[in-house]
């Protein structure tokens, strides 16, 4: 009951925060005017395919109002669900927001078109370093515009964990039996074990994957559950002491439960970027570009950051963040030395993907 109350209350708070954002609208800088003009002439619609709860709904209303372009909005749960739908081409999406390795796979399978960056002047707000990270999966930055980024790390409850947490090793500590939440997805789960062993999380060596699998099988009796989105609620509700989680969720959970702390383990972790891309069979390319340009506008990027709390690559938006603690938060914006040893997922080809899936299956059925 208490949790339900706190959820409703936080919902109410969020609404308050959103209405606060409206003020920023007045302070629009001049650059966006150019971007919206081209779009307003176009009219029509734009079909957006995005992660669930990954955009402030008010942003869509504002975009429709300013440009006259109707937004058809659809959501997906994982990259793997998104891919066959885009590849099949039954619905032609205009803008999609996949993660790094999936963008690479889509480029390799010729599903994306090069973006005309002349129509996206707001790209200048995106920090240089994010574009250079993107080169790992999109050489030459031809196909993608970064939208959100972050790390994967350990969220722990200071009231339940005494020692300092700085390594993946703690997830194998018998003391925390039944108090550990792991990610229920192939790459994220194996990443933890591969990094603990000091291997690359993009390895294609079956020997290394097999060792990592062995570790995960040893860990399984200590794990309370393999979950994805539920890590957030379970950690807030003090159901577990340690959980593997995406950095963007960490800020939200800390707002709800101040006992929680997030750390990127010293062995390194996953540094991920979700970026906007335009599929080859897009029907409304001009509108898609207008949409991406709109999202790169600092005030809009800030609205989205406040709503979803995932780190924004938009430098100008970061400067607009009013709360100093969040603007300088090392969870949202880790310094480069904290990211040492972090890697971005790469698409490893169907064959290696199969090896990962087969070994993950062994963990799950053990």
């Amino acid at each position: 009951m208490k949790r339900f109350l706190s959820l409703t209350l936080s919902g109410a708070l969020l609404l308050g925060a959103l209405s606060g954002c409206a003020k920023i609208e007045d302070a629009k800088d001049s650059t966006e005017a150019a971007g919206t003009e081209t779009a307003a002439a176009a009219g029509g619609k734009v079909v957006v395919y995005n992660w669930g709860e990954y955009l402030d709904p008010e942003v869509i209303d504002m975009f429709e109002e300013e440009t006259g372009i109707k937004v058809v909005y659809e959501e997906f749960e994982t990259n793997e669900i998104m891919y066959p739908k885009v590849a099949a081409g039954a619905i032609s999406y205009d803008v999609v927001c996949p993660s790094d390795y999936m963008i690479q796979k889509m480029i390799e399978n010729d599903l994306l078109q090069e973006i005309n960056f002349d129509n996206i002047p707001n790209l200048k707000n995106i920090g240089e370093e994010y574009l250079s990270w993107s080169e790992e999966f999109d050489p030459g930055n031809k196909y993608s515009v970064p939208y959100c980024w972050g790390t994967v790390g350990i969220l722990y409850n200071k009231a339940m964990v005494e020692e300092p947490v700085d390594s993946w090793d703690i997830l194998w500590d018998e003391k925390y039996k039944d108090n550990i939440l792991m990610q229920d997805s192939v790459r994220d789960a194996l990443m933890v074990a591969l990094k603990k062993l000091g291997y690359s999380m993009n390895t294609d060596s079956e020997e290394e994957i097999s060792q990592a699998t062995q570790l995960l099988i040893e860990q399984k009796p200590l794990v309370q559950a393999y979950v994805i989105d539920q890590v957030r609620d379970k950690m807030i509700g003090n159901e577990a002491a340690l959980g593997v989680i995406y950095s963007g969720e960490a800020i939200y959970t800390q707002r709800e439960n101040p006992d929680l702390e997030y750390v990127v383990p010293k062995e390194g972790s996953n540094l991920w970027i979700d970026s906007w891309v335009i599929p080859k069979n897009a029907q409304n390319v001009a509108n898609a570009e207008a949409f991406i340009n709109f999202l790169c506008r600092p005030d809009i990027a800030l609205m989205n950051f406040d709503y979803i709390t995932y780190s924004t690559p938009n430098k100008a938006a970061r400067e607009l963040i009013e709360d100093e603690d969040i603007r300088n938060s090392t969870i949202a914006f880790p310094t480069s030395d904290m990211l040492e040893g972090c890697e971005t997922y790469q698409y490893l080809g169907d064959e290696t993907d199969n090896i990962y899936n087969t070994y993950w299956n062994k963990v799950k059925s053990s």
């Binding site: 793997e80 559950a225 159901e239 993907d353 199969n354 899936n357 799950k364």
Partner: protein, 273 residues
């Protein structure tokens, strides 16, 4: 009366069956028997023989047999009590067993998760009463609980129906001819209610065997049933061929249980609704 039935009337149903039952089935058979390159292969079906998948199938069979047995043990006496009530108990059954089913199945299962959690409602009450905590969440016990909870009405209704339809005169005749309480039950009531029992068993066993949601939500994804394996093949591995192949194997078990039902329930007496 109306011998010339208008064939057009069955049109919508035929279109529905073709579009949503027959074509999808053909697609599954097609995917199940071809490789990703589109050539014919048995490999997808043989995938069931890997140790992991064999274990998942075995576990799914075990848990669904246990759940079905528990449902039967609970539903039969309850159906007897309800059918012996003086007034018509249908209203009561609807209220107690059908109304909860108006709520989404996923939500009801999620509710169990919240109830059973370590700091969940049940444990809060137990703690308040100074009783030992209940730690069954993320274990096979929680999955069985979820199955029994969700599928109990499917066992109760067919048995109740077959008991209510029973001719009271047969029972009275048995008593007249000297059969005792117990003998009447074993010689008359039980055999006559068998169609309902068989239909109930099928209706609990089949969804329990194929479920992946209950084991995911209440088993913490730590316990892999065959339904979860298939779900993963489709959703995580994007491997529709193996997923379909395993579905075909599962379909064999479903067909067997349906054949058994056909044999015992020729007149459709045990129909639930």
């Amino acid at each position: 009366m109306n011998k010339k039935k208008n064939p057009l009337l069955s049109g919508p149903y035929l279109v529905w069956t073709a579009a949503f039952i027959i074509i999808p089935l053909i697609l599954i058979v097609y995917y199940g028997l071809t490789s990703s390159e589109g050539t014919f292969t048995w490999a997808n079906i043989m995938e069931i023989a890997t140790p992991e998948n064999r274990k998942a199938l075995w576990l799914a069979l075990l848990l669904s047999v246990i759940s079905t047995a528990l449902c039967l043990i609970m539903a039969y006496p309850l159906a007897m009590i309800l059918s012996n009530l003086k007034f018509n108990a249908t209203g009561l059954i609807v209220m107690i067993f059908i109304i909860p089913m108006w709520m989404n199945f996923l939500l009801r299962t999620l509710a169990w998760q919240t109830l059973l959690e370590k700091n969940g409602i049940i444990n809060m009450v137990l703690k308040f009463l100074h009783l030992p905590a209940l730690n069954i969440i993320n274990t096979p016990y929680a999955i069985v609980l979820g199955m029994v909870y969700n599928f109990l009405p499917f066992m109760l209704l067919p048995i109740y129906n077959s008991l209510v339809k029973m001719d009271r005169n047969v029972i009275n005749a048995a008593r007249d001819l000297g059969a005792g309480e117990f003998q009447t039950f074993t010689k008359i009531i039980l055999p006559l209610s068998l169609p309902g029992v068989i239909s109930g068993i099928t209706m609990v066993f089949v969804p329990s065997l194929t479920t992946f949601v209950i084991s995911d939500l209440l088993g913490g994804s730590k316990i892999l049933l065959i339904g979860n394996v298939i779900e993963q093949k489709f959703k995580q591995g994007s491997n529709w061929n193996v997923g379909s192949g395993l579905s075909l194997v599962l379909m064999v078990f479903i067909l067997i249980s349906m054949a058994i039902m056909q044999k015992y329930d020729k007149d459709g007496e045990g129909a639930a609704f």
